[in-house]
């Protein structure tokens, strides 16, 4: 067996090939994404007007995005007043160093970690291990992935790519139990092993789903209870967040909570929403003695410079755009080679990691727009993907022909007139490039795709005719 392709965005093409051939994986992904989508439909049915919910969510997050300094300052002031220490990190390396330093000062050796995409983004686990701190992933999926030495493959289901047999073998090898593939037994084993860790860990590390400006509280949403454990039992709690996680007030928080689980897993609410404002108060019976919130940039401010990409910072990481994406449904999270996968991953990775590394990602999309339709905060994902393609080729990364074509395509998508014109032109000129088997000999962009011959008459014309018929 050849060595698996390393999970990096540069390797997207090879990763996709690897995954497309794996029928078990594809079955798992398809089943998981379908289940989530079906349950989502049931859960949003609670609202007569789900669109109004999305509009409000967009409005809340947009207000924050346009007034980041104000809300961050307010959050800092109120959090500090509750005894939380708020510190800042320019990038991942700085955030890791800060966290290591806090743990060392606290004399900590073991850190229990709740699931956090942001900590994956900066490779926190590795950074801790390098400094002699044992990082323990406590979300069951993350724990499995950590034992296997892999990377999570889905925002809400990190071990989606592993079969129960693989997990059984992994547990037998690492935890010294007899082999079993029964999910219930395996979960019970993990509970026992991790409970010990919770009770003895010095430090708990979590992400942040929302940071509430007017109270200085942070909210951490989860189903397993491992974030509750990590933020209750250890003496020190460190929470890591990107600055875009702010919401103005508690009312806004409740709105985000209402839409988040419904969009993510199709639950009405997650099992636990931990709303935490400061360390344990003098008269409280348990809770950490110290709470540090690390506010990180790590490339996020770059989104502010591009009017077309700015709203990517509205994302609440629900994962719905992934579940609904035909590409994601086929290749899964690992296919993208980035910690952030799916439509939102393809939009933000080129900015966070640089276009040079991630230039293939914006192409991992059919531009069908399903992502934009499902996004609970109404991020215009598919237009952003198109814009990222444009940036990829403008940056002299692509073929000259593609650059030209992409610019034309962008203009055409924005103008109905140009679109009609371009479509007509396509049906006139396409035969020139026709290979006779329904595909073309256009360079690069279409070489690996079957570029279908334009329909004749065009869809638009057919549609016009049809509606005419019906009216007439």
């Amino acid at each position: 067996m050849s060595a698996p392709v390393e999970l990096r965005p540069e390797n997207l093409r090879a990763l996709v090939h690897e995954r497309i051939g794996n029928a078990t994986l594809r079955g798992n992904i398809m089943r998981a994404t379908r289940t989530s989508l079906d349950k989502r439909l049931h859960a949003i049915d609670d609202y007569e007007d789900w669109e109004a919910m999305r509009d409000a969510a967009h409005g809340i997050k947009r207000l924050v995005l346009d007034n980041l300094a104000h809300y961050l300052e307010t959050f800092e002031r109120n959090a500090t007043a509750r005894g939380t220490r708020v510190v800042y990190a320019r990038d991942g390396a700085e955030a890791c160093a800060i966290i290591v330093d806090i743990i060392h000062r606290a004399g900590g050796r073991v850190a229990v970690k709740a699931k956090s995409m942001t900590s994956e983004e900066i490779g926190l686990g590795h950074a801790l291990a390098r400094e002699g701190i044992e990082p323990i992933e406590t979300d069951l999926g993350e724990y499995i992935v950590q034992l296997a030495g892999e990377m999570p493959s889905h925002i809400t289901a990190p071990a989606l790519h592993k079969s129960r047999e693989e997990i059984g073998r992994l547990f037998a090898e690492h935890l010294g139990i007899a082999y079993t593939s029964d999910p219930e037994t395996l979960t019970a084993v993990a509970r026992r092993v991790l409970r010990e860790k919770f009770l003895h860990a010095d430090v708990g590390i979590s992400g942040v789903n929302a940071a509430v400006a007017d109270t200085g509280a942070i909210a951490i949403v989860e189903n397993e209870g491992n974030a509750r454990m990590s933020t209750t039992l250890p003496r020190v709690h460190i929470a890591l967040m990107g600055f875009e996680k702010l919401v103005p007030d508690m009312r806004s928080l409740t709105h985000i909570v209402n839409i988040l689980a419904r969009s993510a897993t199709g639950q009405r609410i997650s099992c636990y929403t931990n709303i935490i404002a400061g360390p344990r108060k003098a008269d409280e019976l348990d809770g950490p003695e110290e709470l540090v919130v690390v506010v990180m940039d790590n490339g996020r401010a770059r989104f502010l410079d591009d009017a077309r990409l700015r709203e990517a910072l509205l994302c609440i990481r629900c994962g719905a755009c992934m579940n609904t994406c035909p590409v994601y449904q086929t290749v899964g999270g690992h296919g993208y080679g980035s910690i952030y996968a799916g439509p939102i991953g393809s939009v933000i990775t080129p900015v966070l990691q640089g276009m040079e590394r991630a230039k293939a990602m914006p192409y991992a999309s059919s531009l069908c727009g399903a992502c934009s339709d499902i996004c609970p905060v109404k991020i215009d994902l598919h237009h952003m993907l198109l814009w990222q393609r444009h940036r990829a080729v403008e940056g002299k990364l692509g073929h000259w022909f593609e650059r030209l074509a992409m610019r034309g395509f962008l203009a055409a998508m924005r103008s109905p007139f140009l679109y009609r014109f371009a479509a007509k032109a396509a049906s006139m000129f396409a035969p020139l490039f026709h290979k006779g088997d329904g595909t073309t000999r256009l360079p690069l962009w279409s070489r690996s795709r079957d570029f279908r011959m334009p329909a004749e008459p065009s869809f638009r014309d057919q549609w016009k005719e049809r509606t005419h018929e019906r009216k007439g």
Binding site: L63, D139, L160, P183, A261, Q267, N274
Partner: protein, 235 residues
């Protein structure tokens, strides 16, 4: 320049000089919320019960405190519980919760929470919660639209009580069922701003995972069972 100053400089430059004040932002936010429909007040109890059960929790509605106590004692007897942890709320004492359990089930150990924090009391409390079959606490509010409840860390109720035992039982008054989480945001704001607590937890079901091939398993880290005893208004 410190990382903090750098970030603030960048974010302030983004807004420019026309940054709106508190009042303008609050007004803008009000406009966003004004567009939302008001959640229905119909059938609060029924919806709460249905949705909690759908989420894997177990709602038990009681017409009276006596009825609740009878049910609880039966539940503890049938499950063969050896010990429970009990929150020290005043209304629990008024119900005679601890005395009635002890009188009926003398073999069952009822752990009361320590009166104040100390390192020793904390260790003992955690060990008791670890071993307990059930943690019995209060729900501050319930939400009809999701079946979730809100619990509060306080001198009368530890966080570990609802986290470490096999079963978490929360006692909820019917009058405290609200249509939607949003109806509770004002109270949460007050609780946090007046420093009444450092942690409010919304509980929507038992601890659960589907991380192994999407097979649902409860009790992955926290309670395997999540019970809410709703005591009717008339009681």
């Amino acid at each position: 320049m410190s990382a903090r100053d750098e970030l603030f400089t960048r974010l302030k430059a983004d807004r420019g000089d026309d940054a709106p004040g508190d009042a303008a932002l609050a007004a803008e936010l009000d406009r966003v919320f004004a567009a939302l429909p008001v959640p229905s007040r119909e059938g609060l109890l029924q919806r709460f019960v249905e949705r909690l059960n759908e989420a894997g929790g177990e709602a038990r509605v009681h017409e009276s405190v006596e009825h609740f106590l009878g049910w609880l004692i039966g539940e503890l007897r049938d499950s063969g519980a050896a010990s429970v942890v009990l929150a020290s709320h005043k209304d629990f004492a008024e119900m005679g919760l601890s005395t009635k359990i002890s009188a009926t089930l003398p073999a069952l150990r009822v752990h009361e929470l320590p009166a104040a924090f100390s390192a020793e009391a904390h260790s003992a409390m955690i060990a008791e919660a670890e071993a307990a079959a059930m943690g019995i606490g209060r729900a501050l509010a319930g939400f009809a639209d999701s079946g979730a409840i809100a619990i509060l860390s306080s001198r009368n109720e530890s966080r570990s009580l609802s986290l470490l035992p096999e079963t978490h039982l929360a006692v909820l008054r019917e009058a405290d069922i609200l249509p939607d989480l949003g109806n509770f945001s004002h109270e949460m704001t007050e609780l946090l701003k007046t420093d009444k607590t450092s942690a409010i937890t919304l509980v929507g079901g038992p601890s659960k995972t589907a991380d192994i091939e999407k097979v649902l398993v409860t009790g992955v880290h926290g309670p395997r069972r999540f019970l809410v005893a709703v005591i009717r208004k008339s009681a």
